[in-house]
């Protein structure tokens, strides 16, 4: 049986009908057409599907869409405002924190919360804070620098 759900995504109201088993990441990608949120591992590890749900970074492959009823969702598409990049988006660009770009949306969304919790993290805290996000391209070196860039920009 399908359930009606509604949620706010990047400031816009969305509603739809879904089977309960529809994963939030599929709802975002297939129903809302917001394909910046990616699926990488299926086992709640790689973090490519990370979004903000009510302000907290979560892995949208491990949440049913019905659980997001009434939630405030932010995806990578909602990060820039009025054409201006978020400091983290800017940091990833400036520090070459991305190569193929597939993990990048998840990296950025996780880093949003990382910096919210700890605006001035050490290198070790950044590395630990990205434990739930895998990147196969960058060796993480420039991702760490991208987060540092954003931290100093936001300070």
């Amino acid at each position: 049986m399908k359930h009606s759900i509604s949620m706010t995504v990047n400031g816009k109201e969305y509603s739809g009908e879904v089977e309960p088993r529809v994963l939030l990441v599929h709802f975002i990608r297939d129903h809302l057409g917001l394909t910046g949120t990616h699926i990488g591992c299926d086992t709640t590890q790689c973090g490519a599907c990370t979004i903000l749900m009510d302000g907290a970074a979560i892995k949208s492959c491990t949440v049913f869409a019905v659980q997001a009823e009434g939630a405030q969702i932010t995806t990578i598409e909602g990060m820039a405002s009025n054409g201006e990049l978020h400091p983290l988006q800017e940091g990833f660009h400036e520090e070459h924190g991305l190569q193929c770009g597939f993990c990048t949306p998840g990296m950025i969304m996780t880093s949003v919360e990382l910096l919210n919790q700890n605006p001035n993290p050490t290198e070790a805290e950044i590395r630990h804070g990205l434990e739930g996000n895998y990147c196969r391209c960058t060796g993480y070196h420039n991702i760490v620098k991208a987060v540092q860039y954003a931290a100093s920009k936001q300070a």
Binding site: E19, R21, V22, H26, R29, D30, G33, L34, T35, G36, T37, H38, I39, G40, C41, D42, T43, Q45, C46, A48, T75, I76, E77, M79, A80, L85, Q89, F92, H93, E94, H96, L98, Q99, C100, G101, F102, C103, T104, P105, I108, E123, A124, I126, R127, H128, L130, E131, N133, Y134, C135, R136, C137, T138, G139, Y140, H141, N142, I143, V144
Partner: protein, 790 residues
């Protein structure tokens, strides 16, 4: 030339990725699209007794189900291998069919048995479980050394001893003689373990058939769209190449695993015609683990012979290479011409011989994975060098230095002819070592190590100096070595009427930043702003041709093809400019985006010339309108980057856990167009090589089950596994391509694995530890620490 080449220009491709607007295959939605789920064998070796699809077909929302029998009935053989390596005695390589779906027997876990196509991915998944397959499970073999023994279970009934081919290179007699006369022999036996590439984007493919035009479009997450089209059209489906468009849009990492032509690409194309609707397949991660081409998997005995002074006399290698159940696209080349030919390393070793056997096993196919053969070669040479230094009581840096080939630039001094077929282009091996030692403060590190040992801490310093062959490759040469394709690259540079430039390149970019690097080259050469150049790749409908992205070839080969077109445009532009300026071409010079009559202020700009080319009212006689050239560049040689890497580790003496404290990489990749991008390539390569040393390894059990079948069991390197890398360079230009570039995509992976292993062994050598199998997990290190009764 302008001022963009050599600058760390920020990437022009970034914006779409950081705003969530990338366009990967699974992001593409086509009206009427269906979704496929593949039914895969849960057994490594099993006879398929019966396949019953009736329940799946009856499931609501299922569009069609096809099995191996459907493909056999349609006369579709399978995906081909692109390289032939024959037996030492001249017998032809044994090359079994690699079916699109298997009808008779499953030969590895994950072999495709049926495909279920449904209205959405949820229904396809449900229905795939309704396909009833009756298997008769058979014995399996997974280790290449076991597979070639008499009596091992056969992967293919008609291939005795599971042997695809055997192969040798070098001078056996001279090498054996060198060992007879040696003062010292160092011997090691290795397993270079199997790795699973794990690009973060799972493979995906969409097949689209247009009944009206009889044209097909394949969207595929590939490094290699043109070659996929060629192989699929000419060798698999027999469909006309000009009616097939292959698009590789944004691709989320490749590392080799997306070079090869996969069965799923054929599946979605063929099925889309059968059902007359688009078909999308996207791998679940467990399918990636089971079916993305794996890497490495060598079992090797390696020996090095030295004289009394520590001079290398000989190198002798015996390797059993695992091919998996079938031959993947480039698989035979990897352990042979990309491995055996690198055994000279950067040393003057006068006698080298490798003997190799390529074996089929009941495992997934093995093919090129970042480095492809060269990491295996560097690993055995560099492990032997560190071990030999210890055995001969010499400093590992000094032993290397002593045996280095002296510097040669390939211009004044000729290239270096190795004992194993290659001629190195240029090198300054002592230069990179000196720079690395300085950057690391090697003397200081040894003092620190001494102090650590006094304090009871376990610290180690490991070296790796390497040379590799990339920028592949001269077509005639690789053809003689068994390649069934050329390895040139194509480019089209189109100057639009307004002076903007569109570059069509056969080099696909999936993280390497071609859209920026290539634009830097073009903008600088034409003296126009970077924003005026757009780089297009990954679409057979617009790019003339392409041999794809692998073997660190994009800049050296693809970039050189662009250079050829640039030169043609400059020449034609000069003729048009001479006409406009009413002078001779010889009186002109081109700089800063304009042609100027030498010694005058009379000039005409790039934009004026391009407009004239398309509005040829006042135009040179006999000149064709337009300003666009396609070029094919076939390299004269491989390129040979080299470097010296130093790893510093500390080991938890109670748990055996290795912590990488520092990593110093000094590479020479020739001229550098964009240092930021090159550094990024090195960083990523390091992570994969260090991952092999410490974390990663595929494990099949005896029944052929993949025990490391998800990221819960296969260790993917994380951010907190690494320190900040200390990366630097020397520059020895490549003498044989127009950019003087070599290639930077794989150096990090090639060098870092032995450097880290050497550091761990250096740390533990006081306990008598000589070797530890990779990945050097805490348990393996801990056991090694205690094996000698410590």
């Amino acid at each position: 030339m302008g001022n963009l080449i050599g600058q760390s220009v920020k990437r022009v491709e970034d914006k779409r990725f950081i705003t969530g607007k990338g366009n990967y295959v699974d992001d593409i939605k086509i009206p009427g699209m269906t979704y496929a789920q593949i039914v895969r064998s849960p057994y490594a070796h099993a006879k398929i007794v019966k396949v019953d699809t009736s329940k799946a077909e009856a499931h609501a929302g299922v569009v069609a189900v096809f099995t191996g029998k459907d493909f056999a009935d349609a006369g579709i053989g399978g995906v081909p291998c692109g390289w032939q390596v024959d037996f030492k005695n001249g017998d032809t390589m044994r090359e079994p069919p690699h079916p699109i779906l298997v009808a008779d027997k499953a030969r590895h876990v994950g072999d495709g048995v049926a495909i279920v196509i449904a209205e959405d991915r949820y229904i396809a998944k449900d229905a795939s479980e309704l396909v009833e397959v009756e298997y008769e499970v058979l014995d399996a073999v997974t280790n290449p050394a076991e597979a070639i023994k008499e009596g091992a279970p056969l992967v293919h009934d008609d291939i005795p001893n599971n042997t695809s081919f055997d192969w040798e290179l070098g001078d056996k007699v001279a090498t054996d003689e060198a060992f007879e006369n040696a003062h010292h022999i160092t011997t090691l036996e290795f397993v270079n373990q199997r790795l699973i590439p794990n690009a973060i984007e799972p493979r995906s493919a969409i097949g689209l058939y247009n009944e009206a035009t009889e044209e097909y479009t394949l969207y595929t997450s590939s490094q290699n769209p043109h070659l996929i089209r060629l192989l699929m059209c000419a060798f698999v489906l027999g469909i006309p190449e000009h009616k097939v468009r292959v698009v590789s849009p944004d691709v989320g990492g490749g590392f080799g695993s997306k070079i090869h032509h996969y069965t799923e690409e054929v599946l979605v194309i063929w099925c889309s015609k059968q059902i007359n609707r688009p078909v999308k397949w996207t791998a679940e991660r467990n399918e990636s683990f089971m079916t993305d081409c794996h890497g490495r998997d060598h079992v090797t005995k390696a020996e090095m012979a030295f004289d009394e002074e520590g001079m290398l006399l000989g190198l002798r290698i015996n390797t059993k290479a695992n091919m998996g159940a079938y031959l993947s696209t480039f698989a035979p080349a990897v352990p042979t011409y990309l491995h055996g030919t690198l055994l000279q390393g950067l040393y003057t070793t006068p006698a080298i011989h490798i003997d190799l056997t390529a074996a089929f096993t009941h495992t997934n196919v093995v093919d090129a994975y970042r480095g492809a053969g060269r990491p295996e070669a560097a690993f055995l040479i560099e492990r032997l060098m560190d071990t030999a230094a210890r055995e001969m009581n010499m400093d590992p840096a000094e032993l290397r230095r002593k045996n280095f080939i002296p510097p040669f630039d390939g211009v004044e001094q000729p290239g270096y002819q190795t004992q194993v077929a290659l001629q190195y282009d240029s090198g300054n091996y002592e230069g990179v070592l000196n720079k690395a030692l300085e950057l690391a403060d090697y003397k200081g590190l040894r003092e620190e190590q001494k102090k650590a040992r006094e304090e009871g801490r376990i610290m180690g310093i490991g070296f790796s100096t390497y040379v590799e062959a990339c920028g592949i490759a001269p077509s005639a040469l690789v053809g003689a070595l068994g390649a069934r394709a050329g390895l040139y690259e194509a480019a089209n540079v189109r100057v639009e009427p307004t002076g903007k430039v569109t570059v069509f390149t056969g080099s696909h970019s999936h993280g390497q930043g071609h859209e920026t690097t290539f634009a830097q080259i073009v903008a600088d050469n034409f003296g126009i702003p970077l924003e005026d150049v757009k780089v297009v790749h990954g679409d057979t409908a617009s790019v003339p041709f392409g041999m794809g992205t692998y073997g660190s070839r994009s800049l050296a080969v693809g970039g050189s093809a662009i250079m050829l077109s640039i030169e043609k445009i400059k020449a034609k532009g000069g003729r048009i400019a001479a006409h406009l300026l009413e002078c001779s071409v010889d009186d002109l010079e081109f700089a800063d985006g304009k042609w100027t009559v030498k010694g005058t202020d009379k000039s005409v700009g790039f934009g004026d010339v391009s407009l004239t080319a398309y509005v040829p009212h006042n135009y040179p006689d006999g000149e064709e309108p337009g300003l666009e050239f396609s070029s094919f560049y076939d390299p004269a040689n491989f390129t040979f980057p080299f470097g010296a890497h130093i790893a510093v580790v500390e080991i938890d003496k109670e748990t055996g856990k290795v912590e990488l404290k520092r990593y110093i990489a000094v590479d020479d990749v020739g001229n550098v167009i964009n240092p930021m991008i090159v550094d990024g390539q090195v960083h990523g390569g390091l992570a994969q090589g260090i991952g092999q040393a410490l974390l990663e390894g595929a494990v099949y059990d005896e029944a052929g089950q993949l025990l490391t079948g998800s990221m819960l069991d296969y260790t993917m390197p994380r951010a907190d596994d690494f320190p900040m890398f200390e990366v630097d360079r020397t520059v020895t230009p490549c003498p044989h391509n127009p950019l003087g570039v070599k290639g930077a995509g794989e150096t990090g992976t090639i060098a870092s694995t032995p450097a880290v292993v050497n550091a761990v062994i250096d740390a533990l050598s006081p306990m008598g530890v000589k070797d530890i199998r990779m990945p050097m997990t805490p348990e393996r290190v801990w056991k090694a620490m205690h094996q000698n009764g410590n």
